[in-house]
Symmetry: C2
Subunit: 174 residues, 2 copies
C-alpha cells in the first residue's frame, strides 16, 4: 500500500484551504460593500437602506412581508428603514388592490436612480472580477456560493428567480 497519504499533512492542507476561504470571504465582502457604503453615507443612509432599495427595485410591488422573508430581519427594523425611504422620496407604498392590508412597495424615480448608481458600482466590480477570472471560474464561483447557502435560502433564491422570469407584477414601475 505505497499510495497511503500522510494524513496529518493532508488535514493541515485542508484546514489551510478552508481558512483561506473563510478569510477571502471576509475581505471580499468587505470590499464589495465598501464603495456602495460610501455613496450611501453621502445620503445619510446605510446598508439596511441599500438592501431595501435593491430588492424593491428588483421586485416592484413586493409586499413588506415578502421583503422581510428575503432580508431575514424583524419588521421593526425594516419599518424604520422603509419609513425613512418613504420620507426621502425613494420609495412609495400603494395599498394592495386585492388585500388592502398590504402595502406594495415601489421605487420612485429618485429611488431608481440611486438603485442604479449603487448597482453600477457593485456590478462594475463583479464585471472586473469575472473578466479577470474567466467564464469557467465564474461558473465555479456560483457553485461554491450556492453550496454555502442554508437549504432554506437556496430554495428562496430559486423561487425569486422563477418569479422574476415568469411575470412582472402589475404596477407603475412594472
Amino acid at each position: 500500500m505505497a499510495d497511503i497519504k500522510p494524513i496529518g499533512k493532508a488535514l493541515f492542507l485542508r484546514e489551510e484551504e478552508l481558512r483561506r476561504g473563510i478569510e477571502m470571504m471576509f475581505f471580499a465582502y468587505r470590499d464589495f460593500t465598501g464603495e456602495a457604503d460610501s455613496i450611501l453615507a453621502e445620503q445619510n443612509m446605510g446598508r439596511a437602506h441599500h438592501r431595501a432599495i435593491y430588492f424593491i427595485g428588483r421586485n416592484p410591488g413586493i409586499t413588506v412581508s415578502e421583503l422581510l422573508g428575503i432580508l431575514n430581519i424583524t419588521k421593526q427594523s425594516l419599518s424604520r428603514v422603509l419609513s425613512a425611504l418613504v420620507e426621502t422620496g425613494h420609495v412609495v407604498q400603494h395599498t394592495g388592490p386585492e388585500d388592502r392590508r398590504q402595502r406594495l412597495l415601489y421605487l420612485t424615480e429618485t429611488g431608481n436612480a440611486l438603485e442604479a448608481r449603487l448597482t453600477e458600482v457593485q456590478g462594475r466590480r463583479f464585471a472586473k472580477a469575472y473578466r479577470e477570472a474567466g467564464m469557467s471560474a465564474v461558473e465555479g464561483f456560483h457553485r461554491v456560493l450556492q453550496g454555502l447557502l442554508d437549504d432554506r435560502t437556496g430554495q428562496q433564491v430559486d423561487e425569486l428567480g422563477q418569479a422574476r422570469q415568469s411575470a412582472y407584477r402589475s404596477g407603475d414601475d412594472g
Copy 2:
C-alpha cells in the same frame, strides 16, 4: 461580419449575471456568518469579537496596529472589543520587547478553544460547498473572490500569507 452579436440582449444578460453575483454574495455571506453569530451570541459576543479572535489566532503576537490594518476599523472600535476579550480571558496582551508602546496579542487557551469552535462551523460549511462544487469550482471561486478585492487588500492578503509561511512570532502561543 456575420458574428456580430445582438448587443442589447447581451447587455441584458450581462446585467442579469452581475445581479446574480451581487445577490448570491449577500445571501451567502449572511448564511456563512449565521451559525458563528449564534455561538457568539451565547457568549454575549458579536462579529467584531470573532474577527479579532480569528486574526489573533492566525497571527499570534500581532500588534494592535497590524490588526487594525487587517480589519479596517478605527482603533477605538477595536480597543473596545479587545478590552472585552482580555476581560473575559480570551486574549492576553504582552508589551512589545523592542518597541514598548506596542501590545502584542495572543489567544489564551479559552480563546483558542472558542476560535477553534467558530472556525470549525464555518470550515464545515466551506468543506460541504467545496465538496459539492468540486475542485475546479473551488479554484474559480478563489479567483473571482480575489478579483473582487481592492488592490490594497489583495496586497495585504499576499503579505499575510507570506508572513505566516516564513516565521511564527516568538511568544507563548508560538
